[in-house]
């Protein structure tokens, strides 16, 4: 994972976050505009109410005093806009309606802000998920072999969600706090410059406190996460090992073990609550302090006659609007750090190079002709394959035999371009498969791999993965050829039965046979069976092999087969048998020719005679079976 290119990680993460917003920036702009307008208007209600209080209601009492104050020009302006103090006084409902109207309009704007932000952020999340999914599909198998599924899934789900929150909440909240602040400051300065200064004096302290605090408590959060992990691990071990627990009657021991993890988690959890209690109360205290300062200084200035009560109330209200969003900034900035980490983890996946691809496609082949020419591949110090050459002709079968790890599956992987050889050529028809796109090569090969994967879909859909356009009748035909039709019709919903996590659990043999059916539906010129019959019993295996042969003869004999198996009964009818050992072909020939020479093939064949000898011995001793052993029979 640690590539040298991540020298300046934060830049890359920020770049990713920025590039993700592409195509959604206009919506954010709208959202921002709606927010600015909405926030400005949200000052409207207090302004109208304040003006009404100052001029229309208290004017009769304090008219002398207030009218002389220049600071109240804004209120005066508002009142004059509504038709002057006297008009407002006699038509108070108009002021009330104006206050209501302005709130509703600002509410609509705030709604628009949230709507655009939601569409933008969810759009970004959707794009990110789609991009990740497609990227993961196109990463080479070598990468997937090393990576852990759980880790990748976590990056694709919870990390994506963290990034989504960054776009949907954090950016918006930060922008809101800044807008509210920027909108309030001119208003405050206009109302009373001195009070304005007081009204923002504690703010830096509030933000700083939050930043330092969350930076400090990260350790406590991490510890809690670890304790939670520990507890979950204990739980999981207990549940997966429930039979072992019961087998040794260790329930009490387990309860004690779990109680330890549980208690530790509880203690740390409680500790964190204690810390958070301090944070929230102190930061609230700071906010209240800010309000109190405005109030006290305001009161002093009202007393000295510098400002009106209405001005003071407006200032208080304005401060109340921005102070809480600003307080959240500290927390949000910390969470921004989490979004950065998540973006970094996602970026690591994106930085993995995809499988290379060629511009040219291999045209669909009519007949299955495959040639391996001096193919070699090394991994570290060991030769996985060295100098492997063979030819598979249309309509023929080549079988590979050998111990596990001798290179048989590597041949298949190279053929499917899941792996590229270091030297040598592989030809499909007349074309070197290295010179054409991987997908076009794979499209010409129908492969059944060692451990076939079935998707959580119905049986029918799983078979049709082979060819989307196939009819139900064709799906049934291939299922019959793979001797799995009879098992399928015994399911409650037959071909509509769900398989996988949310459906029936299939046996290994059923899975393999379903995968064979799926591959047969491909109707590709080359069929590959990589140990695809290992979980199928001998009898069924024979019927499948027979069905494959008759299908091939039926289809003009153009399809060729590459067969990997470990049962001699499966291999013996192949046109050529290649015996692999340590990445080399050590023997090659037909069943008859291989039997005629010394080697592994001959040894394998001789097991049959050993068995006969063994059985012979048992039969000789048959008379001596002891009466004591039979006594347990009913």
């Amino acid at each position: 994972m640690t590539t040298p290119s991540i020298a300046k990680p934060s830049d890359k993460k920020a770049a990713l976050l920025w590039s993700l917003s592409k195509g959604h920036r206009k919506l954010y702009l709208f959202s921002g505009l709606a927010m600015v307008a909405g926030s400005l208007l949200s000052y409207g209600q207090p302004l109208i109410v304040g003006a009404a209080l100052d001029y229309a209601l208290s004017a009769q009492i304090l008219s002398e005093q207030t009218n002389t104050q220049k600071e109240s020009r804004l209120s005066l302006l508002v009142v004059n806009l509504m038709g002057g103090p006297d008009f407002v006084r006699s038509n108070l409902y108009l002021a009330a309606l104006a206050a209501l109207g302005i709130t509703v309009v600002s509410g609509v704007l705030i709604y628009l802000k949230s709507k655009y932000a939601a569409i933008a952020s969810e759009g970004i999340a959707k794009d990110l998920r789609d991009k990740l999914f497609d990227h993961l599909q196109h990463l080479p198998c070598a990468y997937h072999d090393k990576a852990q599924t759980g880790d990748l899934v976590q990056r694709a789900t919870s990390d994506v969600d963290t990034v989504r929150l960054f776009y949907s909440d954090q950016i918006v909240e930060v922008a809101r706090a800044i807008t509210l602040l920027l909108a309030a400051i001119p208003v405050l300065i206009y109302l009373d410059p001195i009070l304005a200064m007081v009204a923002v004096s504690v703010l830096p302290l509030i933000v700083l406190f939050a930043l330092i605090f969350f930076w400090k408590v990260q350790g406590a959060f991490k510890k809690l996460d670890e304790a939670e992990g520990q507890m979950t691990a204990t739980l999981q071990e207990n549940l997966t090992g429930v039979r072992v627990v019961r087998a040794f009657a260790r329930q009490a021991f387990e309860e004690e073990r779990f109680a330890r993890a549980n208690t530790l988690h509880r203690t740390l959890n409680w500790k964190l609550f204690k810390i958070m209690a301090v944070y929230w109360s102190v930061s609230d205290l700071l906010c209240f302090l800010q309000m109190a300062l405005v109030l006290i200084v305001g009161a002093v200035r009202v007393e000295s006659g510098a400002i009106s009560v209405g001005t003071m109330v407006s200032c208080l209200f304005a401060a109340g609007l921005y102070i809480w969003p600003v307080r959240q900034m500290g927390r949000i900035l910390t969470e921004l750090g989490k979004a950065m980490v998540a973006a970094g983890r996602i970026n690591e996946v994106f930085e993995q190079p995809r499988e290379t691809t060629a511009a040219m496609d291999l045209p669909a082949l009519q007949t299955g002709r495959l040639t391996f020419q001096n193919v070699s591949i090394r991994r570290g110090e060991t030769d996985v394959l060295s100098d492997v050459s063979f030819e598979l002709l249309p309509g023929k079968t080549v079988a590979l035999l050998g111990p596990s790890g001798s290179g048989k599956s590597t041949v298949v992987q190279i053929l499917l371009r899941l792996l590229d050889p270091d030297s040598g050529r592989v030809l499909l028809g007349e074309t070197d498969i290295q010179t054409v796109s991987r997908k076009s090569v794979r499209a010409n090969v129908a492969a059944v791999l060692q451990e076939p994967f079935l998707f959580s879909k119905t049986v029918n859909q799983n078979i049709k993965l082979g060819r989307h356009s196939a009819t139900d009748q064709e799906a049934i035909e291939v299922a019959q050829a793979a001797v799995v039709h009879d098992s399928i019709v015994r399911f409650d919903k037959q071909y509509e039965t769900m398989v996988g996590e949310r459906g029936v659990t299939l046996s290994g043999g059923q899975r393999q046979r379903l995968a064979i059916a799926r591959a047969l539906l491909r109707e590709a010129p080359i069929l590959v069976l990589d140990d695809a019959l290992s979980a199928v019993d001998t009898h069924t295996e024979a019927s499948i092999i027979e069905a494959l042969r008759s299908r091939r003869d039926h289809n003009d004999g153009a399809q060729s087969t590459l067969l990997i198996a470990h049962r001699l009964s499966t291999l013996r009818h192949a046109d050529e048998i290649l015996v692999f050992d340590h990445g080399r072909i050590v023997q090659r020939g037909t069943h008859e020719s291989l039997l005629a020479e010394p080697g592994m093939y001959k040894k394998l064949w001789s097991i049959q005679s050993e068995l006969e000898e063994d059985l012979e011995r048992e039969t000789e001793h048959a008379g001596v079976s002891s009466a004591a052993e039979l006594a347990v029979l009913p």
């Binding site: 209600q45 009404a52 209601l57 304090l62 108070l92 009330a96 206050a99 209501l100 709130t103 509703v104 600002s106 709604y111 999340a125 959707k126 998920r129 789609d130 999914f133 993961l136 599909q137 990748l152 949907s168 979950t232 999981q236 071990e237 549940l239 997966t240 039979r243 072992v244 019961r246 021991f253 309860e255 779990f258 549980n262 509880r266 204690k274 209690a277 109360s281 609230d284 209240f288 109030l295 050998g402 111990p403 499917l416 899941l418 997908k439 791999l449 994967f453 998707f455 993965l465 996590e501 046996s507 049962r567 001699l568 040894k603 097991i607 050993e610 048992e618 079976s625 347990v632 029979l633």
Partner: protein, 602 residues
């Protein structure tokens, strides 16, 4: 997973009986809960007092001063500051008290669920995935404790604020109060209608989200199949349909929130407008002081907070109802295998015979997996069970170890029906080694000691030597103190099987059960183990499920099981000569084992 989704389907009404049951978990923390209520009351007091102070200040300022004395604002200011300080203290105590409840209740629910899980019969586990059970003790527990601590708090606070503000308004001026409070029914109506919509949309989101996670999982695990089938495009299209659905429901959910909040504010603005209009008239008429009007205006605006909070909390509680149902379902699950009052500790310490008498077993009613089964085993005998997977072999050993109990018939231990013997007495005398050799994270030594908690190091090492595990243990860094990793993933399956065997050996059980216990050990090593196992099994009753010939051949009785029935019974000689099912199994296995040896020796 399907069952989980089904349970989410219940849009259901608020289930009071269920919540009462869940609520019991708070009872041990009664004091904290009461403290929380008191704190909430104090906060509400402050919330109600602040607008009053503001009103008083306004009155003090606007009342003409007959004596010409300077305005005395300080008492009011002190009141404010005092209230602020009280509020901060309350916030502190809120979090402390709710924190106590939150952290302790979640731990308590977990403990209760965990100890229930230890008692539940294995049949319960057969029907549920480990991940599903885990979620009950992790996310569900967290959700419930959060709701119990903070949800309760929000409801108490929200209701009290509305009541407090109303009372205060009535005391100040009942006419204005009636006017302003007309918005309360509107708020309630608004909150209720949104709350239901929010509930439905958040459930939809959750469901789609879990489908997306499943798709990622499948896309990654099935990547080879995808590549070889050239399915990338089709997969992406299907995935995009899901993310498209997610986009739709998330935007809908956020828009609901986006409408809800301004809607509540607007309704409150109606209150403000009404107060300003009628209140202004009253002020002008000299019937109400300006200060009182200011107080009313603040109260009207203030109602938005509790209204939003209540709606959100109710949504949260209803969302949590599914969690409550699942957790309570687990706690209420009946334990079918446990000691009843009639059990008697037997005088005899040793198990001499085990007898199956007309035993039948069905997993689900009507699905018989074992038909009328009879067998008597005496001390020193080894019973081998062979046959196809799913035939019923594991059922027989599970019945012997009382993981399951017969649906019909009896299992007699020393002639006594084992349901009248203590469960612990029986299971302490059994040693069971399973095909999936589950190890616990920790060292090899700790894992072997699991069989006998007070085993000495010598006993542990002797057991490991006996089962040939020392051959690989000696090559590890740290030897017996080497960590085995989570689930033993640092070791191969064969190595894990050897440790599991040693773990059973150290327990020195009277009845030994091996269920494919050495299937992943390679053939050569298995022969060595066989010698050890023969030694271990001497003088005990043993049941062996195996496909390796070396294990089966020496058994006293071989039972060939197929589709829940014993199809052949006898020793190796007899069964070979019968040329039936056993003969077929034997010849196949013979070829396979020899081939395996050849392939590996090359």
């Amino acid at each position: 997973m399907s069952s989980e989704l089904d349970e989410d389907q219940k849009t259901g009404r608020f289930d009071r009986a269920l919540w009462l049951k869940i609520f019991r978990f708070i009872l041990p923390y009664k004091r904290s809960a009461i403290g929380l209520c008191i704190t909430a009351a104090v906060v509400v007091g402050c919330d109600v007092a602040i607008p009053l102070f503001t009103g008083m200040i306004v009155d003090a300022v606007t009342t003409p001063n007959p004596d010409g004395k300077a305005l005395v604002l300080w008492p009011y200011l002190l009141g404010y500051v005092g209230t602020f300080v009280v509020l901060c203290v309350c916030i502190w105590s809120f979090i402390m008290l709710a924190g106590v409840i939150n952290s302790h209740v979640s731990a308590d629910i977990r403990t209760a669920a965990f100890s229930k899980l230890q008692k539940l019969q294995l049949a319960y586990y057969d029907r549920r995935a480990v991940g599903w059970l885990m979620a009950r003790l992790t996310s569900d527990c967290n959700t419930l404790s959060r709701v119990l601590a903070w949800g309760t708090l929000d409801i108490v606070w929200g209701t009290m604020v509305i009541i407090g503000v109303s009372i205060s308004m009535f005391i100040l001026d009942w006419r204005l109060a009636l006017l302003v409070l007309t918005i309360v029914p509107l708020l309630v109506l608004l909150a209720r209608s949104f709350q239901l919509k929010l509930l439905i949309s958040s459930r939809q989101m959750k469901k789609t989200n879990s489908l997306i996670t499943a798709s990622f999982n499948e896309g990654i695990s099935g990547v080879r199949t995808t590549k070889t089938m050239v399915r990338e495009g089709q997969n992406l299209a299907e995935f995009q349909e899901l993310t498209g659905r997610m986009f739709g429901s998330s935007v809908r959910n956020q828009m609901l929130h986006a409408i809800f909040i301004p809607a509540v504010t607007s309704v409150c603005a109606i209150g403000v407008a009404l107060a300003l209009w009628r209140g202004g008239v009253l002020v002008l008429a000299g019937e109400v002081s300006l200060g009182k009007l200011v107080t009313f205006l603040q109260y009207a605006g203030f109602l938005a907070g509790p209204a939003q909070e209540l709606a959100n909390t109710l949504t949260m509680i209803q969302n949590a109802q599914a969690s409550a149902e699942r957790v309570q379902g687990l706690l209420d699950e009946p334990v079918t295998i446990q000691d009843d009052e009639s059990v008697l500790e037997p005088a005899q310490a040793k198990i001499d015979t085990i007898e199956f008498k007309d035993v039948e077993f069905e997993y689900l009613p009507g699905q018989i997996v074992l038909h009328t089964f009879n067998l008597t085993v005496k001390s020193g005998q080894t019973i081998a069970l062979v046959g196809a997977t799913g035939g019923g072999k594991s059922t027989i050993v599970s019945l012997a170890s009382r993981f399951y109990q017969p649906t019909r018939g009896q299992v007699l231990v020393n002639g006594i029906d084992y349901t009248s013997l203590p469960l612990l007495w029986l299971q302490q005398r059994m040693g069971i080694v399973l095909q999936q050799p589950h190890l616990f994270s920790g060292t090899i030594r700790e894992n072997i000691r699991y069989g006998k908690l007070d085993a000495t190091d010598q006993q542990i090492e002797a057991a490991a030597r006996l089962t040939n595990a020392t051959t690989f243990i000696d090559t590890l860094v740290g030897k017996f103190d080497a960590k085995v990793g989570e689930g033993g993933n640092q070791l191969s399956t064969g190595q894990k099987q050897l440790i599991a065997l040693a773990r059973a050996v150290v327990a020195d059980p009277q009845v030994f059960i091996m269920d494919e216990a050495t299937s992943s050990v390679d053939t050569q090593a298995e022969r060595d183990i066989q010698i050890a196992v023969d030694r271990v099994l001497k003088g005990r009753i043993s049941f062996v499920i195996a496909h390796r010939l070396s294990t089966i051949r020496g058994a006293d009785v071989i039972l060939v099981i197929d589709q829940g029935k014993v199809v052949e019974r006898g020793n190796h000689h007899d069964l070979i000569n019968r040329r039936g099912r056993y003969f077929e199994l034997y010849t196949n296995q013979f070829t396979q084992e020899r081939e395996e040896v050849l392939m590996h020796s090359s």
